[in-house]
Amino acid sequence: MKQFLVFIKKEFYHVFRDRKTLLMLFGLPIAQIVLFGFALTNEIKNNRIVIVDYAKDLASQQIINKIEASKYFDIDKSLMSHNEIEAAFKEGKIKMAVVFPAGFNNELLHLNKSQIQLIVDASDPNTGTTLTTYISSIVMTYQTELMKNNSIPYRIVPELRMLYNPELKGAPNFVPGVMALVMMLICVMMTSVSIVKEKEKGTMEVLLVSPFRPILVIISKAVPYLLISLVNVSIILLLSVYLLDLPINGSVLLLFAESTLLIITALSLGLLISTATESQQAAMLLSMMGMMLPTVFFSGFMFPIENMPFPLQMISNLVPAKWYYIIVKSIMIKGLGFSAIWKETLILVGMTVFLLTISFRKFKIRLA
Amino acid sequence: MKESVIKTEKLTKRFGDFVAVNEISFEVFKGEVFGFLGANGAGKTTAMRMLCGLSVPSSGIATVAGFDVFKQTENIKRNIGYMSQKFSLYEDLTVLENIRFFGGIYGLSDKQLKEKSSELVLTLGLQNETKKLVGALPLGWKQKLAFSVAIIHQPKIVFLDEPTGGVDPVTRRQFWDLIYEAANSGITIFVTTHYMDEAEYCNRVSMMVDGSIKALDSPSNLKKQFSATSMDEVFFELARGAKRGE
């Protein structure tokens, strides 16, 4: 036991004496969250939108006045044709176009139902969703006001057209994504690199020729990164609650338990990589290609999995981060309990057991 | 008057407070085999880097192949060859590919390259190995090939950093035969080694201790000076007083 503790202490010396890596370990998650955070809070204000009013009647004018009153929009009222709108989107000049069809008020009064077209640049999904929500709520308010004065149920239906990213992945989805990414990065890359480093420096030979059990070498390598990752999870959660105003709707305890599970999955992957590589560079490259990229592509937080071709969807099932992402979203955003995520948890447990088994099998008590 | 190809005067390199090379002054002549000896950390590598134009001296004067080490490092690099025990050739390229590559970076024309590589392969007896990866060759052959490649562009000076470390005694001697051959063709050899018997093969030897040159002469004169029977004793006599390590 004492050997084990000394080993872990040594690992912490390694971590804390390597300033650059240390900075990356703790700076990266913070930087990512803060960056996403600013993307969320800043860009929503003062968005340039264009209003195309073919109607020019009372109702359209009243709604336009309400939009103008909002601090979120800079309005360009110059009348444009549909083609011009497309061009303005392509140039990135505007984020949204609100189109009132001719006879807007008439339809509303006579058919009790009218339509507004909202065309949104959804390439930045965060902004896209927020803008439509704002406009929709302005229209809703107007509708309620109309109803107050009149018994006829007028309905204005905003017809939504999302450009570029109709799936609208975004906003709160980034936090779980960043959590998965950071853990994959730290655990897979750091464990594999630190084990391979011992091989490269020849210290592994000495450790093997010692009474210390080789398996313990591996476990004591993993412990510091497990702890560091948990600290990182806490930092990310604190930042997302206090900086991004993204509350944790479900159980924090459950969230940490599931995170620990992913960390162990990642550690066993790192271990597997370290048994297969001989140089730090190779380990780093394999971690990057093997873990980072799949995590970014297939976990679902950057690119919607539903839109991928079927074979890619199948591949995405092999990526642990995908399941973790679903779990975290369920707990944090939907506030669901364990009963809702037991399947995903089981899949992660299965993956971990599988990975640990092969890497322990592959781990050599001898050289080559 | 002998033509000098390396000339330094009070050449110094400081790293902060630490004086790695302390006012060394010496001359190396054309066609000479010059042994550059010293204990670990005496400053040999730093001095050699300055002469190769890889590191800017803190003070002093030095010319290599007639070029100034402060301003004309590009010219220096074109006129020297370099080989070390650690880095010599690309292990994952074949013998011929290595020769072509290194000849190529030194600007040999295709015709020259063809002539040189076949000549080189012939003298080293590597006819059957040209398509083999360098990594698969025995160490001794690798080192001999590396040396031949280092002088493929007929440099004025070739710097050899422990070229024979770990090589078997027979190949080590063959390696020195190559060195002499190169020296006879007018190439100046600047060599470091930990084998003291190899110090005897040099025309002149300098002994560096704690950043300065403590002795410089032919092996026989050095032995006389320190009334020693071998270079080993001379080295021991000088380096024993060394205070610092790497």
């Binding site: 040594k10 093997l208 008590i365 001898r366 | 670990n40 470390g165 090589v167 078997d168 080295f235 390590g245």
Partner: protein, 305 residues
């Protein structure tokens, strides 16, 4: 203490033979040297003995334990310093030593006596990180780390490679004193001049042991007579000698050339001198010399092809 029986080790699925049918034994308290160039198979032999590699053929025991079956026992008893071993660069001297002591289930205090003599030399720098130590000091620290659990057998793989002549001498002094304390030491080196410092040596080349005995006996077993020669024109001398048909071998050795002859009748010396004088050599020194281990190695190499 250490016994090898027909040990063979191959790499690349048997295509590269690193160790070829090697057998020898090392007695208790012996300082045994494996002498040979890089790639001779020294490191592979050490790794088989330290249970890091499984041999492809043959058997070996260390202190009575089989290297394959009783590997756990061997690992807790031997000390090992691999060739490229460089300690933990980012840990201090004391942290390194402490770490290895604990890993080997002991403390610095417990076996301090054994390492004291070496450790006092680096103790003033105990709070310095290993990366900031000089080559000689690193080597001492590495030796302390390998000794800290009082091993019965100490394996040192090329401890002096790339180290200057003075530090090398100091290192061998240390080994001698360790030997006096009863530790069996196996050491490998490419430097032939270190061979005489061992009790017994094995000369090894391309995986085969060419000769194994005490350094003295190996020198005695040198067949034929060895001469050394020197003249005022050393560069030319070697070429001129090679044209003498009675020449068996001739190679540079320090400031001299070492020679041996096919036929040493009463005239050959005179014959040789005449040839050399004809070629313009002066101040010729020519005399018999005692072969060194390196001469023996060269001779063994050429006779084994």
């Amino acid at each position: 203490m250490v016994i090898l029986n027909n040990i063979t080790k191959t790499y690349n699925k048997g295509n590269t033979i690193a160790v070829d049918d090697v057998s020898f034994s090392v007695g208790k308290g012996e300082l045994f040297g494996l002498i040979g160039p890089d790639g001779a198979g020294k490191t592979s032999i050490f790794r088989v003995l330290t249970t890091l590699l499984l041999p492809d053929g043959g058997s070996a025991t260390v202190d009575g334990c089989d290297v394959v079956i009783d590997y756990k026992k061997i690992r807790s008893q031997v000390g090992y310093m691999p060739g490229k071993f460089s300690l933990y660069q980012d840990l201090t001297v004391e942290e390194n030593l402490n770490f290895f002591a604990t890993i080997f289930n002991t403390t610095i205090k417990e076996n301090y006596e054994l390492i004291k003599e070496i450790y006092v030399q680096i103790e003033p720098f105990k709070n310095r990180r290993a990366e900031k130590l000089s080559g000689g000091m690193k080597q001492k620290l590495a030796l302390c780390c390998a000794l800290i659990h009082k091993p019965t057998v100490l394996f040192l793989d090329e401890p002096t490679t790339g180290v200057d002549a003075v530090s090398r001498k100091e290192f061998w002094e240390m080994l001698k004193r360790l030997k006096e304390q009863g530790i069996t030491i196996l050491v490998s080196t490419p430097y032939m001049d270190e061979a005489t410092l061992c009790d017994r040596i094995a000369l090894i080349q391309t995986g085969k042991i060419m000769s194994i005995d005490t350094p003295n006996n190996i020198v005695k077993a040198y067949s034929g007579t060895l001469y050394k020669i020197k003249s005022d024109m050393m560069n030319k001398l070697s070429n001129d000698l090679h044209s003498y048909e009675n020449m068996l071998s001739c190679y540079a050795f320090g400031e001299y050339l070492h020679l041996s002859f096919k036929n040493e009748n009463e005239h050959f010396e005179k014959e040789l001198m005449n040839i050399l004088k004809e070629k313009g050599h002066q101040q010729i020194e020519f005399e018999r010399t005692i072969p060194t281990i390196e001469d023996c190695f060269i001779k063994l190499m050429s006779s084994s092809g």
